[in-house]
Amino acid sequence: MRARGDDIEEAFQLHYERIACIIARVVGDRACAEELAVDVFWTFWHTPNAHGENAGGWLYRTAINRGLQELRRRARHVRFERFFRIGPGPPTPEQLHASSEEQTNVRGVLAAMKPREAELLLLRGNGLSYEEVASTLKLNPASVGTLIRRAQQTFRKEYTRLYGEPRNRD
């Protein structure tokens, strides 16, 4: 079954801004977020199984996935530059606007984590309840709390490994 243009446009009008904002929050770059959001809807258009009642959840999950993929791509790029000793290019205006050292660290940790754990933290960080997280990631609601706790432990461990002991540790 192929989606009609009208259905796609309806889903687009309903979810686009939210999806673009979620991605922007992950990647910290507005232009990139808009591009990735279009990617998400393009994939949605060609994924008939995603349509219907759970379209919102599917879009949410895919948006976070795309954002994380972008973070991992950037991390790879940085490793590549270090390996070949290529100096980093000048920062884009978006980067200058968005980045602080700690923001970069948080994104670096998310990129280094397992995708599923990073997804859990981001969904939780976007204010979703356990039920919503479980529904979006198709998990057993009873295990969501444990999985989030485990993901947080991983986040802390990765942060310490990459950047040393946190300064503002509670």
């Binding site: 687009f12 929050r25 279009v38 923001q103 981001l122 939780r124 960080g125 802390r156 540790r169």
Partner: protein, 256 residues
Amino acid sequence: MANQEIETDPWVDHQLTEFLHPDDNWTPNRSKALANLYHRRRSRLRRIWIGVPLATTLSVSALFIIPTTRACAQDPVACVEGFLTNPKTDFKQLGSATAPTTVEIYLDYECPPCAAFFANVLPALETEYVKTGKLELIFRDMPIARHSHARLAARYANAAGRFGYYQAAAKQIFATQSTWSKTGDIESQLAPVLPPAILQKVHALVQKDDAAIDADLALAEENHLTRTPSLVIVTNGKRQLIPGDNTLAAIKSYLQ
């Protein structure tokens, strides 16, 4: 109990909410994004419309061309068998098939008057009548029994013709007639005008290709032809032998 939220790590929560904060001053450009989405859709359709027929054409061509080329490279004899199954015969025709007049030229590659005709009369005929669409020429083989290498020479010319080299081979065979007619070594005379790969294929084909020569000989007998070169003019289904020495002037008088 299942959905009761358990205690989380406040530092991690802080990191995620504080440093990945939402950008409140930004509204994504919805119309630009929608236009981008539809642009991708149009590009994809364009790629499909262009790509699918192109890919199909290329695949079909590859299906036929690659096996044929490989077969010819690895086993010229197998390639030759294919030619004999579907023989290409129009290589002996010169000029437009819709020309009002056709002239059949019966040649013996070992006969000196045929070599003289091919070298002196044919080029003028070609320039004046064939290239202007007035005349179609059909070359036919008429090896005379007393010429011991004439049939072999015809085989070589026809074999080269099946690979697109008829005119070049015939011209060379006539030009070197005095050399190969003593030994029968026609192949070494063709080496300068045929690419090595083609010569290899011609060599494989030449022993197997007598059917066309026999058909031409049968036609010559039907027309009661006794000498070479003989020219038969065909107009509106009527066949007429051009008598005499087949000089350009004599032929022209029949073509007016």
